[in-house]
């Protein structure tokens, strides 16, 4: 265990408007909305904020944009951009900053209008001379290639991948703000329009607008607030590659590195975790992260997810908000995993609340399986 264990807590969470937001809203509008809602959630004020972290695909210098928008001059700011796991990295970096005494109340924010402005407009493409000539559809084709290799080595089937999408949908039906609530079967997934084999459109995340924020502070400050703190017990960060053709082994993600670092720091094992929030940009993600975080053995993810094991009422609750597959996915989904893991520990999740949650994992993924960051949160009982 490190001396960082439990030295900060997530105390405030909020989503901004989700789904399709009002015309001409900007990512900054959504971040501001999320920031104020998250501060209100825990009972802090904008003037308390002395650390501001933010990421979005639609602004290169987002911390500057948000400090201007909100009229704040925080002592510490950070726009680390490693894709959808940026917000888990922000938690780890905020922990270091707070431990160093640089700041005490940190907001981590995200906003995206990618559904309104189109995916192409929301994410600037970087030229890549060694991949562009082949016209992969990014990111789905990158994850489809990983899925093909997993199917080849371990006999994983499209039906098993489809079960992951169905479990996510069944959780989404319990979440009033989830984007898709209609029935979904394995056959529906298999028979949906093919995008990049083996993925149909239902193996792929939603394309929505949305954003939000979380508020982090010290255990001392957390005592006086309105919410139950979710303590940060451990974090792990790993970057294995940038372009998919440089991924070392396409069946093993960097979660196999970030997970053990986080478990060690938290002083817990996978068996202790009550709920798993895993970045499901595509169905294969959930399967890879279940394996790489040690929930099941490498190669056994396909069989593991059968028979609703990860759905509502199943043995291992995974992606209890409905996930990127059915709840919302504005392009960089990681913040929503931290929001849901915190709320599960707080016990405020209504119909989808899992019983007796003391330990939760929020695992973020960025790029094309490129960056993997794991955050383990715990209730006061775990300190």
């Amino acid at each position: 265990m490190s001396n960082h264990r439990g030295n900060i807590a997530i105390v405030g969470t909020a989503e901004s408007d989700l789904g399709v937001v009002a015309p001409d809203m900007t990512p900054f509008d959504l971040m501001a909305q999320g920031t104020m809602r998250a501060l209100d959630n825990c009972g802090l004020k904008l003037s308390d904020v002395d650390g501001y972290f933010a990421a979005t695909s639609q602004s290169r210098m987002v911390a500057m944009a948000m400090c201007e928008y909100l009229g704040i001059q925080p002592k510490y700011f950070d726009s680390t951009q490693i894709g959808g796991s940026s917000f888990m990295a922000h938690v780890a970096h905020a922990q270091a900053a707070i431990a160093a005494g640089v700041c005490e109340v940190v907001v981590i924010a995200y906003g995206s209008t990618q559904r309104s402005v189109s995916r192409a407009a929301a994410s600037a493409r970087e030229p890549n001379a060694y991949e562009d000539p082949y016209k992969p559809m990014m990111p789905p084709s990158a994850y489809a290639l990983a899925a093909s290799r997993h199917m080849h080595e371990y006999g994983t089937t499209r039906e098993q991948l489809a079960e992951i999408a169905v479990a996510a949908r069944n959780w989404a039906k319990l979440n009033p703000v989830a984007y898709r609530q209609d029935d979904l079967t394995v056959d529906d997934v298999l028979n949906a329009p093919m995008i990049s084999y083996p993925f149909t459109v239902r193996d792929c995340c939603l394309v929505t607008d949305g954003g939000g924020a979380i508020v982090i502070t010290t255990p001392e400050r957390a005592k006086d607030l309105k919410t139950k703190p979710a303590y940060v017990l451990g974090t792990g960060e790993h970057i294995s590659h940038n372009m998919i053709s440089a991924m070392p082994d396409m069946t093993v993600s960097g979660a196999a590195h970030s997970g053990p670092i986080a478990y060690k720091e938290a002083g817990v094992t996978v068996k202790d975790i009550d709920v798993f929030e895993l970045y499901d940009a595509f169905t294969i993600n959930t399967l890879l992260f279940l394996e790489d975080l040690g929930v099941c053995a490498k190669g056994e993810g396909g069989a593991f997810v059968e028979n609703n094991r990860i759905g509502p009422g199943g043995e291992v609750p995974v992606n209890t908000n409905g996930g990127g597959l059915s709840y919302c996915h504005p392009g960089m989904y990681g913040l929503f995993l931290l929001i849901e893991a915190t709320r599960q520990i707080q016990g405020v999740c209504g119909d989808r609340q899992v019983d007796d949650v003391n330990l939760a994992i929020a695992h973020g993924n960025g790029g094309v399986l490129s960056s993997q960051c794991t955050v383990i949160l715990g209730s006061e009982d775990t300190l």
Partner: protein, 125 residues
């Protein structure tokens, strides 16, 4: 590294492609490197250009289904010299491209829009 680089790694790669050669690099320890770089990964050491025999094996594969247009292949190819690259397997139905299939490189000549680049065709054995 103190001298100015007169040509970029990409320009050298494409010069080889224009001659029909698939070029890659090796480190001082003999490890194959792709994509081409100025600096060896991990060690920061020097890199030497080599020409591949152009034979490889499909490591991973997907068939893309564009809304407008015909399905096409995108695959990862493991070259026999020990490096991996993205490419496309041609002269076969994309749905029939299989992991483990042996393939050989062929160059698509450059146009105004797209410089020369390598693709692969299935080969026996």
């Amino acid at each position: 590294m103190s001298e100015r680089a007169e040509t970029s790694p990409l320009a050298v790669f494409r010069e080889y492609c224009d001659k029909g050669d698939l070029a890659y690099q090796v480190t001082e320890d003999g490890e194959a490197v792709f994509y081409p770089r100025l600096v060896a990964p991990k060690t920061g050491g020097a890199l030497e250009w080599k020409v591949s025999k152009g034979l490889g094996t499909v490591y991973a594969t997907t068939t893309l289904h564009p809304r407008n247009g015909e399905p096409y292949d995108v695959s990862m190819i493991d070259l026999d010299e020990g490096f991996r690259m993205m490419s496309r397997v041609e002269n076969i139905d994309p749905a029939d491209v299989k992991i483990g299939m042996r393939v050989k490189v062929r160059m698509i000549p450059g146009t105004d829009d797209q410089p020369v680049y390598p693709v692969f065709d299935p080969v026996e054995g």
